[in-house]
């Protein structure tokens, strides 16, 4: 019999698995990481000793709950860690585990692929010592390391303040927090944010804590450039008061998150432009059903809503799946989950206003800035192709290879879309969607194929 498969063992995938198991359906749970938990609740290696409170702060209870769930389930379900899903087509997934390729047919699949940082490049961002905000957090949680001795944290989004707080608390020296969104935007966003008072309170707590501990926090502050020869030596930034320079040896930056949608794309899901995420997203109904009958979507991989929502969406999608294959599900539960998800969605709207997308990034980015770090395609290279008359992102990709490197546009895709839109004077929603290609991550030579 073909399996019910879940891709991704983060908050959404783990709750999906738990819900299916509770109804007697034993899924295959595929995860690229060695230990389940996903990114925000990334687990440290087994021989590390820090407590959950030390690692996850206010979220310790949620993180531990999720980890305990996967630990309790792992012997019962078909859990396959360190397994990359690199292709999906015709009702089957192509996987890679320890150098061996295999094909797994599925009857139904829940796609819970998560997200990565959304990156808007600046000059010097390829220097050693520059990382994404998510990377800075992983270095600390997963490896007990800071990304440098004197760290500048830049960009925008809730992760900016969380990472700053976690770094300072762990004893790292945070030389400045440079938030590109202005204070006025955050004040305007308050009514929307009040829909999740506890989450709002945490955000305010992090910021007050930083100020109380003498860490400079600047709002309306744009990172302009990272200077250095072989590694980071300083950053230049600007605000209403002018241009500034700050010595540091490490920088982390990002503007929120972007969904990992490649597998949903290869599975044939319909996509729609989502203004809130400023991205094309696979369409899902309130329950997590995609446009393809066998495919369900849950968590940040189908639109950024955060870890709490991912847990709920994972359970909701599993309930939808169960219902679709004829199982009886608790009649009240779907409504209750959907109502909670709706509340988080209102909060998410508020967050987007508070940490507004820097609309001027594309027009203010110099031609010399590297946009694609894989193949060093410059902003000017993209603009040249647009000036030749191309504006559809896949055509632009064909001409200058933006989005064609090893990362397949994960790091540069959002930025490239902004530059194409700006240069062609079209809305970013009307320049097309970067198509996913298999293999979605590089495969090694000498792959063994399982019979």
């Amino acid at each position: 019999m073909k399996a019910v498969v879940i891709i991704g063992a983060g908050p959404a995938g783990i709750r999906s698995a738990q819900t299916l198991m509770a109804h007697g359906v034993r899924p295959v749970l595929l995860d690229e990481a060695a230990r389940g938990g996903g990114q925000i609740y990334r687990r440290q290696p087994e021989n590390f000793k820090r407590s959950a409170v030390k690692l996850y702060g206010f979220e310790a209870r949620k993180a531990s709950g999720l980890h305990q769930t996967i630990d309790a389930l792992r012997g019962q379900l078909d859990y396959r860690p360190e397994t990359l899903v690199w292709n999906a087509e015709d009702g089957a997934l192509d996987t890679l585990h320890e150098g061996r390729a295999a094909r797994l047919e599925f009857s139904r699949v829940i796609v819970a692929t998560g997200a990565t940082d959304r990156i808007l490049p600046v000059s010097g961002w390829t220097l050693p010592g520059v990382y994404s905000l998510g990377a800075a957090q992983i270095a600390l949680k997963f490896q007990g390391c800071a990304i440098g001795e004197r760290v500048a944290l830049c960009g925008s989004g809730p992760l900016l303040y969380l990472v700053a707080y976690q770094y300072a608390k762990a004893g790292a020296r945070v030389v400045a927090v440079l938030d590109s969104s202005p204070f006025s935007a955050q004040a305007r966003a308050l009514p929307g944010l009040l829909s999740q008072p506890a989450t709002l309170a945490k955000g305010i707590y992090y910021r007050s804590w930083l100020t109380a501990h003498g860490i400079p926090v600047h709002q309306g502050a744009t990172l302009k450039r990272v200077n250095g020869e072989q590694r980071v030596q300083s950053v230049e930034w600007s605000n209403a008061k002018g241009e500034h320079r700050l010595d540091c040896d490490a920088v982390a930056f990002a503007h929120g998150l972007r969904s990992e949608t490649q597998l949903a794309d290869l599975l044939g899901c319909e996509f729609a432009w989502n203004p809130l995420n400023r991205a094309w997203l696979p369409q899902r109904d309130h329950a997590g059903r995609s446009s393809v009958a066998e495919v369900y979507l849950a968590g940040d991989g189908a639109g950024i809503m955060g870890a709490d929502a991912a847990e709920m969406a994972g359970e909701r999608a599993a309930l939808a799946l169960l219902e679709d294959i004829g199982y009886l599900i608790p009649p009240q539960r779907p409504d209750s989950l959907e109502r909670s998800l709706q509340r988080i969605s209102e909060f998410r709207n508020g967050l987007e206003r508070a940490f507004a997308f820097p609309e001027h990034w594309a027009s203010e980015t110099a031609d010399e800035v590297v946009v694609c770090r894989c193949e060093e395609v410059l902003a000017g290279d993209i603009r040249k192709v647009v000036r030749e008359g191309h504006w559809e992102i896949n055509r632009v990709k064909a001409h200058c290879r933006i989005g064609m490197g090893r990362c397949q546009g994960r790091m540069c895709g959002a930025a490239a879309a902004e530059i194409i839109a700006c240069e062609s004077r079209r809305p970013v929603s009307e320049i097309g969607r970067l198509r996913a290609q298999a293999p979605i991550k590089p495969l090694p030579f000498g792959l063994e194929v399982e019979p």
Binding site: E32, A33, A34, Q39, Q44, P45, E46, N47, F48, K49, R50, K54, T116, D117, T126, L127, P128, G129, V130, Y131, S132, G134, A135, I138, A139, L140, F142, Q143, G144, C145, A146, I147, G148, E149, A170, G171, A172, Q230, R231, A250, E260, R373, C374, E375, E376, G405, R406, C407, R410, M411, K441, P442, P444
Partner: protein
């Protein structure tokens, strides 16, 4: 010099490896990325400018932390755990 700075979990057993042929040492539970960047300043050279790179996303997405092992395999340093005796070499990259 180093890029990464250890803040916690320092009391783990040492794990010996070689970096470009020179003896080096990390800690049990380090990724290759952590082991290399706590004792040096880069992981690879860019394929298009040979400029130094030290990874970026640490979550297996950016593909900018590949290193080569003694057995010929190329692996992502951010998601591969250090093992004793590994011979890690950094590719110098290329210029156009």
């Amino acid at each position: 010099m180093a890029v990464l700075k250890r803040l916690a979990e320092g009391d783990r057993p040492a794990v010996e490896f070689t970096l470009d042929g020179e003896p080096a040492s990390g800690l049990l539970g380090d990724t290759l990325l952590t082991a290399v960047l706590t004792c040096s300043e880069h992981l690879r050279g860019s394929d298009f400018s040979a400029e130094p790179r030290a990874g970026f996303c640490l979550m297996g997405a950016c593909q900018d932390c590949w290193v080569r092992l003694g057995d010929g395999r190329r692996v992502r340093a951010c998601s591969t755990l250090l093992e004793a005796g590994q011979q890690i070499s950094r590719e110098p990259g290329r210029t156009l």
